[in-house]
Subunit: 203 residues, 2 copies
């Protein structure tokens, strides 16, 4: 990382528009970087989608009107537990977001430009990665507690499959969070590169 | 934000050691910035300490041997709920961390240098802010779910004060998380400044 503190003495070399001087090496590096982000996003998407599906199919009965809020019904349904609804919503949101970001990454790899204007894109990616990582982690943590509590009560004795499937869904959510965190690291790095170089090309 | 892309053409102006050219304005700005961080850390410390105390004193009986793990004891004790133990631990960790960071901030404001070497300090601050923010948020989210669940069961009917005190403790934890998040934003900004300028002085 080149630290340009040497510019501090009042020297102002002529401004050059940043978009025309990228070497082949730089473009190759950027492409490899984008491919890595794409992989992370794909893995995160897969885990979160799987978690969503596991949670959404997690009921023994046919899904009723959904009005009941008690945890004491005979055949448990994810819809009766607000926390599981939060888990499902968080996983679904992250899955949709990852899918959209995959599209943006593919676009960038193929076309060489970002989908949104560059400034917007790097900040959008980083901020949303951060917020959704917090969202997903807190939803999964809340879900973990609920599963633990259910296991101590009667619900899991009545239908063990429900608890196991919930636990699997939450575990998949944690895996999705991990890869979302990796993406967040990379997009944070991209923001720093953007601030330093005035373009997302890092070299 | 000065973007030094103009250096890209192979110009390498002579390197100047970064520590001797800070104007009075720059030093004043840094001091104001550090004071802001100090305030955030202090508020975060207060909230987390209060949350720790509220949780630790949250029992009606004298604290027994602690071997029991069931939620069904007659006089509930925070120690019987693993989730509340996590909440207490997370809040205590963040309180201790905030206190230590307050010390580092005061040192920096008074002495003008960082406690640790500058590179270590800025990265240490930022990474720990991030990790502890995730830790605290997930602990509080888990605690929220437990309180919700307890409210549906018999525990809260038996002793309502226990549930209210738990909820207060968790709410204080959320407030602590918020201010830790603000600190994290500022320390992230400091990392970027450090990468750009090669020193934590931002101008």
């Amino acid at each position: 990382m080149r630290s340009p503190q040497s510019l501090r003495n009042g020297e102002t070399p002529p401004r050059i528009p940043p978009h025309h001087f990228h070497s082949t090496v730089s473009i190759q590096k950027l492409r490899r970087f984008n491919t890595l982000i794409l992989i992370f996003r794909f893995v995160s998407f897969c885990f979160c989608l799987a978690a969503t599906i596991f949670m959404a199919t997690n009921s023994n009965s046919s899904r009723g009107g959904g009005g009941g809020g008690g945890a004491a019904s005979n055949s448990p349904n994810w819809f009766d537990f607000p926390t599981f609804r939060v888990v499902l919503a968080a996983n679904a949101i992250v899955a949709v977001y990852s899918f959209a970001e995959m599209g943006a990454s593919v676009w960038e790899i193929l076309k060489g430009t970002t989908l949104l204007p560059e400034t917007v894109q790097v900040w959008f990616d980083f901020s949303h990665d951060q917020v959704f990582a917090y969202l997903l982690l807190s939803a999964d943590a809340a879900g973990t507690t609920l599963v633990r509590t259910l296991r101590e009560g009667d619900t899991c004795k009545a239908s063990n499959a429900f608890c196991v499937q919930s636990a699997i869904s939450i575990g998949l959510g944690y895996a999705g969070f991990m890869f979302l965190g990796f993406s967040s690291l990379l997009s944070g790095f991209r923001v720093v590169c953007f601030i330093i170089n005035g373009s997302r090309f890092h070299l």
